[in-house]
């Protein structure tokens, strides 16, 4: 009996503590911001499933420019999982579609980030990311959900959406980055 009490004391005494660093907190804050934007965006009605602005990617673009690809990848993947949990869509087709879109965008960004920053800004990365996003999604749709060439008929619509929203998100990210730079210069 005494042993049992001792064991129980030990159990309650032990706390699970994750050792988090400042960098982890930083990533968590940025991911929370991105999750907030994607939940906000889920309220906007869309004429075609899958056509949406993707404003959460503005966070990815800013993080990519300021903190590099590793942090951007963490923030983006945490956003996909986090907003999936909030929306109750984890392991549904929609979840895998946004995951495949995010993964292919990140792969393209890993390459495009090496473009000379003098000539290529957030708009470039945003357009590349947006096209990679729809490419990844359509490949998953074709190989998993609708294995029919009729899917190709929708490509022009998705490409036009990627073009418009990719440019818009890139401009917004470029704006925030320039404001940030100006504020740093003033301080």
């Amino acid at each position: 009996m005494e042993n049992w009490v001792a064991a129980r004391k030990n159990m309650t005494a032990s706390i699970i503590k994750l050792n988090t660093t400042a960098a982890d907190h930083h990533i968590a804050k940025l991911a929370a911001l991105a999750i907030g934007l994607s939940v906000l965006e889920a309220a906007i009605p869309s004429p075609l499933p899958g056509v949406k602005p993707g404003i959460a990617n503005i966070v990815t673009l800013i993080v990519l420019a300021r903190f590099g690809w590793r942090t951007a990848a963490w923030v983006t993947l945490l956003r996909v999982v986090g907003s999936g949990l909030l929306m109750g869509s984890v392991l549904t087709p929609g979840f895998f579609l946004s995951l495949s879109g995010a993964l292919s965008s990140l792969m393209i960004l890993a390459i495009s980030q090496h473009l000379p920053a003098r000539w290529f800004g957030a708009v470039t990365h945003s357009i590349f990311g947006a096209f990679a996003h729809i490419a990844g999604q359509l490949l998953l749709v074709y190989f998993w959900l609708i294995p029919h060439m009729g899917v190709a008929y929708l490509i022009p619509i998705f490409a036009a959406a990627a073009l418009i929203f990719g440019t818009a998100n890139g401009l917004i990210a470029a704006y925030f980055l320039s404001v940030e730079k100006r504020n740093v210069a003033c301080a």
Binding site: I127, L163, G166, L171
Partner: protein, 135 residues
């Protein structure tokens, strides 16, 4: 926070950004043109009584007489288009359908068991890519 005006937006484009934007516009236009061309037809398959009566290219203007149980159905081919010019069927649905222009279009004269269907691809080579559709 002062939001930029519409003209200020151009300041956020770098030279390479314009280049990438131009490329992606080209890419989108090209995708639209190639995927939405609608499938130009180049030959017609004429059936009578369920059997293929003949396959004719649309490049030569001509009129073809196809016999059926009720009489002769005339099929006209002109300007890469095809239509049923006359038919002995009582309600004339297939005649009223008019000119067929794109691959996959079909006119059926059921009482006389004659049909004309437009195809793309090589003469005699391609058949329909699907064998059923459902919604």
């Amino acid at each position: 926070m002062n939001l930029p005006s519409a003209t200020d937006l151009f300041a956020y484009f770098k030279i390479g950004d314009w280049f990438v934007l131009f490329l992606s516009v080209l890419c989108t236009v090209w995708l639209t043109l190639t995927l939405w061309h609608g499938g130009a037809a180049d030959h017609a398959v004429i059936r009578s009584g369920g059997k293929i009566f003949s396959r004719v290219p649309l490049s030569r203007d001509q009129t073809i007489a196809v016999p059926g149980p009720l009489g002769i159905t005339q099929i006209a081919i002109k300007n890469l288009q095809a239509r049923i010019a006359s038919d002995p069927s009582p309600r004339q649905y297939c005649v009223q359908q008019g000119w067929l222009k794109q691959a996959g279009e079909i006119a059926l004269c059921l009482p006389n068991q004659v049909s004309v269907e437009l195809h793309d691809g090589k003469l005699g080579g391609s058949e329909k890519k699907y064998d059923s559709l459902n919604y």
